[in-house]
């Protein structure tokens, strides 16, 4: 793939006239997908896919293009040349963009991770025996992913990684469920079997009869996976500088009213583990670490170069959508073994589901409990709960109602596959919160 990208880049840059700029971004994968239901194969297949994105800049006008890379150089070069000519003509018709961002050559990078992966033809036989006798449902994704970026000033980045993920649920006959997500680069069969064994042990807790709890406010523990979902909301009308400027960010109270969250709450963008490339789709390289919220105080928003120009602030080379790509929340002091006793009476939520802003300006988020969620009383897990809806503000649960933060963080890998397999991960601990609001 890298060779294809390099050949195409060199050829397409030679098509440019004076004063024209071109940024190319490459996004590809060679993946296996196996979908399971009832511990059997529901659907199975392979996907080869790669897209080349083109950003053409001339006379303060920016036009984009894009096409599927077929792998045949002559076909792909013809597609690229056609796109350049189309963009050249279109640039003559559209209005000037005063905030257009021009490419630079700030240095190149090259990162390739080779893994000892599970061969495609052995995946089914490696995965299913550990699930024997369980009602197992989920998705296996495995293979290589490719990201590239180059511009006509000579800057070039390449990122290539090989990884797998088995995102799954185990289900009891009474429809109670436990979630698992086993992901990594090198395949270790024994680690996989051990991970599944722990899921099955957790499932045994779900065999108790679920209890129905009333709406109201509860002392609540959120496992790392649930905290990761809350942090994900910051990437959607939250931490973005453009969202704040355009009046659609839940962070407005922190920016305008100087509201602070709990001193126990700190979040950084951290590219050091290498879960995803440091370069964005314009080829700009982000700082390895960037403090976003420090001890409850908003320190930095994510600022793309376009926002920097538009609003007169400094860029931190965020992606154009100004979302977090590799967030990490700071750990605290609560040992996981003490969680249930610290809850005393309340809720233990392993996962949450279908979050949305119910009042973005107020920081209010609604969603639902899902999977292994329990009622706790006298410092002991009593039983799973029936599904409940919550509706509460992050200014509460990451603010003055944040009681404790777990002393260890977990890595929650990005396993979404819309359009293609995603890269990245959210690293965060669990949290203990007071008076969390259940509404339905």
């Amino acid at each position: 793939m890298e060779k294809i990208f390099n050949q195409l880049s060199d050829s397409l840059f030679s098509e440019l006239n004076n004063g024209e700029n071109l940024i190319l971004s490459f996004d590809g994968e060679k993946s296996q997908f196996i979908r399971f239901n009832h511990a059997k194969v529901r659907q199975t297949g392979l996907v080869d896919d790669a897209d080349l994105g083109l950003k053409f800049i001339v006379n303060n006008r920016s036009v984009h293009g894009g096409f599927t890379v077929s792998g045949n150089f002559d076909i792909d070069l013809a597609r690229g040349k056609y796109e350049i000519e189309r963009m050249r003509l279109e640039a003559q018709e559209i209005p000037e963009d005063p905030f257009v961002v021009f490419p630079e050559n700030a240095g190149s990078s090259h990162e390739i991770k080779i893994a000892d992966s599970l061969p495609f033809e052995t995946a089914v036989d490696a995965l299913l025996p550990a699930m024997s006798g369980a009602d197992f449902v989920g998705i296996w994704a495995n293979g290589r992913m490719f990201r590239g970026n180059a511009n006509n000033l000579g800057q070039k980045h390449w990122f290539e990684t090989e990884s797998f993920s088995l995102d799954y649920s185990l289900v009891t006959p009474e429809h109670q469920m436990v979630k698992g997500s086993f992901a990594g680069n090198d395949w270790h069969q024994a680690e996989y079997e051990s991970y599944v064994k722990r899921s099955r042990e957790k499932l045994s807790l779900m065999e108790r009869k679920p209890v129905k709890i009333d709406t109201g406010e509860y002392r609540t523990w959120f496992e790392s996976a649930a905290v990761s979902d809350f942090l994900g909301m910051f990437s959607w009308n939250g931490i973005s500088e453009a969202s704040l400027r355009q009046g659609c960010s839940g962070f407005g109270r922190m920016r305008h009213d100087d509201i602070r969250l709990s001193p126990k709450f700190s979040v950084i963008e951290d590219f050091s583990p290498g879960y995803c490339p440091k370069f964005n789709s314009d080829g700009e390289v982000s700082p390895e670490k960037l403090s976003l919220i420090e001890n409850g105080e908003l320190k930095n928003t994510l600022v793309s170069s376009r926002s920097a120009k538009e609003y007169g602030v400094e860029s931190n080379n965020a992606e154009s959508g100004e979302y977090m790509r590799s967030p990490k929340m700071a750990a605290g002091s609560l040992n996981h073994e003490d969680v249930v006793s610290e809850i005393g009476k309340g809720l233990y939520l392993s996962n949450i589901h279908y979050l949305n802003w119910s009042d973005n300006a107020g920081g209010r988020i609604t969603g639902l409990t899902r999977y292994a969620c329990f009622w706790v009383e006298n410092g002991e897990i009593i039983a799973p709960i029936e599904t409940m809806r919550f509706d509460d503000s992050f200014y509460n649960f990451f603010g003055e109602r944040l009681l404790e933060v777990e002393d260890k963080s977990s890595v929650n890998p990005e396993v979404e596959t819309y359009g293609g397999r995603s890269l990245g991960a959210t690293t965060c601990p669990g949290i203990l919160v007071d008076d969390f609001a259940l509404t339905l």
């Binding site: 199975t44 920016s62 984009h64 096409f67 599927t68 077929s70 429809h175 979050l355 949305n356 809806r389």
Partner: protein
């Protein structure tokens, strides 16, 4: 630039001893244009083009999605798909035969008068800039945008049992948005909520609809919301406009009736369903006013088509008749697995994903009440327009939705504007509280380009049309 492919010739390049072979070619180009705060922020065009090779081996389907559309590429893809299917067939969830991919021939083309190229990039930017100027009614509009995305899709499907289908689509998404803010008091008003204004038609849309007048209204309403009272809290009646009804239908009917969900395929991702296989023909889903159809034939609706991606011919069918659940959203595979009647809704997001049960056009059929009739029945309640927040549980029971714009209804009349109107409920009791359904004059056609489901994940376009509806005794509430 679309490469010309002879897909029938490519089918002859496949050399594997499969029970069945199918090739599905998809070309799709997106052309977005957007003006935000007076300047262009998106102008471009990108396309995807590839083929899904699908084979049936020992009762198990296997696939290979490839952009290499040469005879050698397709032959190699078929061999690898065959290997995947053969290995998996030893652990197959269900043993299919050729009947899962019925043989059909035919074609479909979106109805339109003016193609994409009839409106140049320059002219469309000018229209969008004029719309922006109308949105910006005050300095308190801190951000405003106008956007249009044209989508052109060509679909070809051939198979070893004789299917030969071609479908060409011309679609667009159009939106206007104005955000008014005064400190942390911020309100956004759009044209149909969350890109709900999406249709299958051509550039004649820009001749027919009063874009500038709507832009001005949206800007004025955003300002109006800034000084409006918060929506009241309590149990009261709700009158819901079509651009919110579309999401109500989508989340609490559409997804709940997908047969692959009911069969458990989605339990690890989108979730299960409160509907069980034995409920069809028995469950009173809603009040007698409720008539829900799967209608791929409604002209200009976003997800109209003649055949699904498994080659099944698409026809209009009632899913819920007079409130009774009669049919599920199950394509041919789900119909075979479940033994239920279904519809032609086996759809994939592109050439790189395998089809699954999806919604297409799921509509609420009009009733006989005028808009004024509906309002006049309400002693105290709220009228709501345009979705801005949505969430529902994994069984499609407990939902909560928020709207952009509300009007208080007092003693049968709409009075003052209210901001942050929200409501929540549980699907069956909610639909059983449907008290009145508006007539054709209140009917609106909407849709969404962003319905997510499936593993691997797929986002797909769906259409929803509905009249204005009246629900009694609903939990309604406002902002923080």
């Amino acid at each position: 630039m679309k490469s010309d492919i002879d897909i029938k010739q490519l089918l002859s390049a496949v050399d594997v001893p499969a029970q069945w072979v199918g090739l599905r070619e998809v070309y799709e180009a997106h052309t977005p244009r957007m003006i935000r705060d007076g300047v262009p922020v998106a102008n471009g065009r990108a396309f995807t083009h590839g083929i899904m090779v699908e084979v049936l081996v020992n009762g198990q389907f296997g696939y290979y999605g490839t952009p290499n559309m040469t005879p050698e590429g397709i032959s190699s893809a078929a061999k690898k798909a065959y290997q995947q299917a053969e290995i998996a067939s030893r652990h197959a969830n269900f043993q299919f035969d050729e009947s899962a991919r019925p043989s059909h021939t035919g074609s479909y083309a979106s109805p339109f008068l003016k193609d994409r190229e009839s409106l140049s990039a320059g002219k469309l930017n000018k229209i969008l800039l004029e719309a922006y100027n109308e949105l910006k009614v005050s300095d308190k509009i801190v951000s405003a945008s106008s956007l249009c995305q044209v989508i052109e899709t060509s679909f070809s499907f051939v198979s070893s049992n004789g299917s030969d289908i071609n479908q060409d689509f011309l679609m667009f998404e159009f939106d206007l948005s104005a955000t008014a803010a005064d400190g942390t008091n911020q309100q956004t008003r759009t044209f149909g909520g969350m890109r709900g204004n999406c249709r299958q038609m051509g550039m004649e849309y820009f001749d027919k609809y009063e874009i500038l007048a709507n832009a001005n209204r949206i800007g004025e309403q955003a300002i109006e919301l800034l000084s409006a009272d918060d929506c009241p809290t309590g149990e009261m009646d709700a009158v819901i406009a079509p651009d919110q009804m579309m999401l109500q239908i989508h989340e609490s009917i559409g997804h709940a009736l997908e047969v692959d969900r009911i069969l458990g395929d989605e339990r690890n991702y989108a979730g299960w369903s409160f509907v069980k296989l034995e409920d069809f023909g028995k469950l009173q889903y809603g009040s007698k006013h409720m008539n829900i159809t799967f209608d791929p034939t409604l002209e200009s609706e976003f997800a109209s088509y003649a055949f699904d991606d498994g080659g099944l011919k698409a026809t209009k069918e009632y899913l819920i008749k007079d409130g009774l659940l009669v049919r599920g959203l199950g394509g041919q595979e789900s119909q075979i697995r479940s033994g239920l009647d279904g519809v032609a809704n086996f759809r994939a997001s592109s050439w790189n994903r395998a089809p699954i049960d999806r919604m297409a056009n799921i509509n609420l059929e009009p009733g006989d009440s005028t808009f004024d009739d509906l309002i006049s029945q309400v002693e105290y309640g709220v009228y709501m327009e345009s979705n801005k927040s949505w969430s529902i549980d994994d069984y499609r029971n407990k939902f909560q939705f928020g709207c952009e714009y509300g009007k208080l209804i007092e003693n049968g009349k709409m009075t003052k504007t209210v901001k942050n109107p929200n409501y929540r409920g549980i699907s069956n009791p909610f639909w059983r509280s449907l008290k009145g359904v508006g007539n054709e004059d209140t009917f609106g056609i909407y849709g969404t380009p962003n319905c997510g489901k499936g593993e691997p994940n797929q986002v797909i376009r769906v259409g929803h049309a509905s009249p204005t509806c009246l629900f009694e005794n609903i939990q309604i509430f406002g902002g923080v």
